[in-house]
Amino acid sequence: MIRVGLAGTGSMGTVHANAYRDIPGVAVVGVVGRDQGRTATIASSLNAHPYTDLEVMLRMEKPDVLDCAFPTFLHRTVVERGLAHGCQIICEKPLALTVEDAQAMITAARAAGARLLVGQVVRFFPEYRRIAAALRGGAVGTPVTLALLRQGAYPTGRDTWFRDDARSGGVFVDLMLHDLDWALTHLGPAERIYARLVSRREPVWFAQAMATVRHRSGAISQVAATWGNHRGFLTSIELAGDGGLVRHHSHESSALHSYLAQTPDETGGVSLPNLAASEDPYRTELAHFIEVLAGRAEPLVVAEQSLAALVLALAARRSAETGQVVSMEVGE
């Protein structure tokens, strides 16, 4: 039985908690959050102990694994504490907000002899796995163009930390990073990147980042990431090569659409059911991480890849700020 301490009870902490409930061979033993009520609810649903202090949880529970789902600006501190207590680490993406922090975390994990497994969850979505398998199987030949899109509501977070780029990294580092990681993993390192950002705070919060990457292989990627769209969460991917084209759009492949009356009637309304019609990629990801930590699998994501995606996301942000193409150094 692998004993997990879960740090975080926000959106991602909740998603992780739900996923762990389903994974055999795992016990979440402690849950840390600032909101006592929320933390107690999540902890009791997992038969775990609630804590408001990370250090106390680590000392009392001595978990094998620390899962860091705290806000991004706290990742380095949380991970270093966990490593100091001898924990293996699972950490939500982005690994950190700066290259310096991310490198320090990787170095610290290596020095502690611990795994540092970063939640690049897009790798675990079944549709993205299917595209990757088609690419590996030669269905597209040599890849030439890759277009990636990711859109959702503008997140807030506790204390509105998501809306503060200094704490969340903004749309480049928090959202576009997903697709930059996918592009780097499947088309190889970037030679240069150019990006633009359109953003508003009035009358609504809106941010759309658009980037073009030239890979060292010669392939080109176009990546767009939007916070504040009004048509629900959506993603799309289109990969074209000299052997063919593969594409996926989340709206086209949605298996179940609901169009429900807006106002619940006098019976008090219906609690909306979970319409999830496919496997939960977070569960797939965390189950894989647990297999890795149990020594039964090699990791599909290594922290150095998350670092590379962060480097490229920061380069994209710099390009958007300067209006110039940013060249990447070899090894970045």
Partner: protein
């Protein structure tokens, strides 16, 4: 250590035999024991592909298996089912369960008196999109269900599927039973009256290839259904199962085979949709194996197969008679 359940495949005739063989090769607690086929030219290469023994004599097969999956021509289901019952083997039978009410009743009775499990291969009960729709309906998401527009359109299958004596019919018997079973499972109600217009016009063969059915349930829900083999070879996927469920509070749209990536190869002249969704065939075979082990009914029983068949047979009867007909009453 529990001994794995040894499962043999009775005939490679059906196009789904490959999917079940694949499933048996991937399920813990089961082994793919052998293949029997009355045509060695068909069974031997199939067995070789999965590196299992080919057994040309049914009597010699029994010692090597605990259960069978019947994937013979529809008209042969009854004889094979009765032979398996006589030697106490559990049975998962491809749909349609049989080609006549009499045969279907005889199979259900034979399994009952032999005390073996008889399941009908309705993998849609294990499809995650289809399950999500059931969850939503049972939770009352659309309020009271009023009407359903369903389709199970496909490409015309090859070989014996086009021979009335072996298939027992065409598109109607092939593509009505999946939807009839889902409807009974969703509504927890029984179909009462069926009206059908049937055609041979798409392919001009000996069996029907197009039809529109109207099915009225005892509780008053009215369903239209299209089971036609109306997808030409250029269609990018084999076909579909869709349901538009209208209720007093809204509508739910199911498109159970929309979870695809779209593939456009450079060197052929038509596109292909490649599924990324969870494997329902494998989940169904796993459920059957566990049902045998636990001595419980599988998700869809022989009786469920018989009830679904009754709808298809009523459609043929309606088309012959030129009027709505009552579905054969539930026996036993």
């Amino acid at each position: 250590m529990i001994m794995p359940l040894r499962v043999a495949l009775l005939s490679a005739a059906h196009v789904h035999a490959g999917a079940y063989a694949e499933a048996l090769s991937h399920i813990e607690g089961a082994t793919f024991a052998a293949v029997w086929d009355d045509q060695a030219v068909r069974g031997r290469p199939f067995a070789a592909k999965y590196t299992v023994p080919f057994q040309p004599n049914l009597e010699d097969l029994w010692a090597d298996c605990d259960a069978v999956i019947i994937t013979a021509e529809n008209a042969r289901h009854r004889a094979l089912c009765e032979a398996a019952c006589a030697v106490g083997k559990h049975i998962l039978c491809e749909k349609p369960l049989a080609i006549s009410q009499e045969d279907a009743e005889a199979m259900v009775a034979a399994a009952d008196s032999a005390g073996v499990i008889l399941g009908t291969a309705f993998p849609m009960r294990h499809s995650l999109p289809a399950r999500a729709l059931r969850r939503a309906l049972r939770a009352g998401a659309v309020g009271e269900v009023l009407a359903i527009r369903a389709t199970n359109r496909g490409t015309m299958p090859p070989g014996w599927f086009r021979e009335p004596a072996l298939a027992g019919g065409g598109a109607v018997i092939d593509h009505t039973v999946h939807v009839a079973d889902l409807l009974r499972w969703y509504l927890e109600d029984e179909p009462e009256v069926v009206q059908a217009e049937i055609s041979h016009g798409l392919h001009g063969g000996a069996v029907d290839d197009a039809a529109f059915l109207t099915i009225t349930f005892q509780g008053g829900v009215v369903v239209t259904h299209d089971p036609s083999w109306s997808r030409p070879p250029s269609y990018p996927i084999w076909g579909d199962i869709t349901m538009e469920v209208a209720g007093t509070r809204g509508t739910l749209d199911l498109n159970a085979f929309s979870q695809n990536i779209h593939y456009y190869p450079r060197h052929t002249d038509h596109a292909a949709w490649l599924p990324w969704g969870a494997n329902a065939d494998q989940a169904m075979v796993k459920d059957f194996v566990e049902a045998v082990r636990e001595g419980r009914p599988p998700a869809a029983t022989g009786r469920d197969g018989e009830r679904a068949l009754a709808v298809a047979l009523a459609a043929y009867e309606s088309a012959r008679a030129g009027r709505p007909v009552t579905v054969a009453p539930l026996m036993g």
